[in-house]
Point group: C4
Chain length 196, copies 4
């Protein structure tokens, strides 16, 4: 499998999923008659707006992770493609989870569903990384230390998402806040080392 076509396909799914997030916003039906009604309806969309911004950050982070990971990879084999498809299936599901979270921001079911999707993608990232290490798919210039650090970072990410997901069963709004906090944490620029 040609790596550039693999990356282009993945980037396409990331870009489309991130742009479909806007479908979480729907105009009220039936047609409103006054400016005050419209302003009220638009203001009432603030949970959708937070969910939109959250998912934009989440997919943006995933896209960066994907890029950072595959920059170091030399060979794409069949199992990698299957893990990647499972990862993209989770990513492409985010617009629906976002719409659900935006419309039901304080319910256990919507916050749990959202967390499940993020945990699914984190699981795929971890298992795909394990596979890539096992088959020696990385560029030989990538050091053991970099791989070990990446494995640790992915495991922490998985644990954090899983914890926030379980939190949704008890305190959905706190879980929603945790998803936002995690996304902000990962988005804040920090120094990063790279071997190549």
């Amino acid at each position: 499998m040609n790596k550039s076509r693999f990356e282009a396909f993945s980037d396409g799914v990331f870009a489309i999923a991130i742009t479909l997030l806007v479908l979480a916003f729907a105009l009220p039906q039936p047609h409103l008659g006054t400016n005050r009604e419209l302003a009220t309806a638009l203001f009432a969309m603030w949970p959708e707006l937070i969910a939109y911004a959250l998912s934009f950050g989440v997919i943006g982070i995933m896209w960066q992770n994907h890029h950072a990971l595959f920059r170091l990879v030399e060979r794409i084999d069949r199992p990698t493609i299957v893990w990647n498809l499972l990862l993209l299936a989770g990513t492409a599901f985010i617009p629906f989870a976002t719409r659900t979270l935006g419309e039901y921001p304080a319910m256990h079911a919507s916050a749990f569903l959202y967390g499940l999707v993020l945990t699914e993608t984190a699981t795929c990232y971890n298992l795909m990384l394990n596979h890539l290490i096992r088959v020696g798919a990385f560029d030989e210039r990538v050091s053991e230390a970099t791989l070990a650090a990446t494995v640790r970072a992915y495991r922490v990410g998985w644990a954090v998402y899983a914890a926030a997901t379980l939190l949704a069963l008890v305190l959905p709004v706190a879980s929603f806040a945790a998803y936002v906090a995690i996304a902000v944490y990962y988005l804040i620029p920090r120094g990063v080392d790279a071997d190549i």
Copy 2:
């Protein structure tokens, strides 16, 4: 026709169609009042979820086939473009067939429609392959044995999809299960030989 622009356009359609699959999921109308109602509504979407996962696998397999085929091809002529458009028209139709199958998982009409679309794409793949062989569009390093094996594999794929489609007229749920089994079979990684 420049091969890279031909592949980029096809990849675009595959990536968009696969991401549009999420439109099979719709939030219940009108707005639900309790967490229990929302949880029940989300649980009731399990046929949609299976149909979503199925079609994600199906389009993912098609994308891989497309890549594997055109990696060996050197020249893209007009008839190839037309066959490819017919193939993409079937692929782009999958989101609707998926939504129908998800909403009506146990009906003959939806399982038959889904199978028809897969059979259409398999037909296009077979006829496009025949054309490519007839006009000698393959890289000269591709052996006769590879081409013959590809033709056989494509014919088997077509026959399997056609059989599952006909099964829909008798046992729709068995047909649905057959689509899933076929997708899983093709997704499981196996050793693959390649000439180039």
Copy 3:
């Protein structure tokens, strides 16, 4: 303006518009209870299916034209970008015109709207071509004869679409049939000469 990024953006719009055509198909509301009802509802979508296939062909032809034209072009200036945006605005509108034509296949207004959109894109192609010739944007290896033949072909295309559009004011179904006939004519592979 970098030509490859210009082409990639245009190809993106073509690929997305062609894949959004599937949104012309909507499942009947409310949920149907029997297989017979579902089969009847799906059969009743044959005008949508013809409109879908028509528009798939139309956008496919436009994408090929775009490729064939810009393969010969060396420089992309600002006016070319503006003409191209107007062309893409017409292309991106096709999913709505298709849905309208599919739902109202025998009405003057829908057939006229569909023709208007095609005539708009044909107009943009003609004016963009005129501009490209006037500013000498073509590769110097492109002969005068090729340019003259392209101008003629574009004018004929425009006239044919405009005539079919006017026909919609009198005989909408004949106009619909004419759109299909034109698309089939352009899709049938024929020998093509190229300078480079």
Copy 4:
């Protein structure tokens, strides 16, 4: 971060957002019975059509700006990615703002929302440009004069959009007209200097 993958992802979002604009058009429900009713319904969509054309121009201009800016940039760092995500989040929101403006062309709330989105993207462009200059991310052949001119142009663009947004609180239709005038101004081709 590889610059070409960064640009491809951004171009993908621009292309998808611009093509999703067509979702502002919805067929009237329930199904209309006569050609006159359909023609009337389509004619009544002229505000949607103006909003569609406006947003097509707006996103087209943004895409060009993005290209013109990053053609001069050599290094993409993490803060640039975050600014770019915030910019794309605004861009991907435009289809919803467009639908709102098209359905409520004469209301303060919709014209203000539309302006807010444009002002948000202009703010991101300005802050991203500041960052790129501060960290010296530009190609060394780019002159100080070019950078200073770009900073000025971006500030003027921001001020004009902010002014039109505030105008929406008083005269929504005038604000709508101002958005159109600004887009037409930026789309009209003019001579442009470039260092490289």
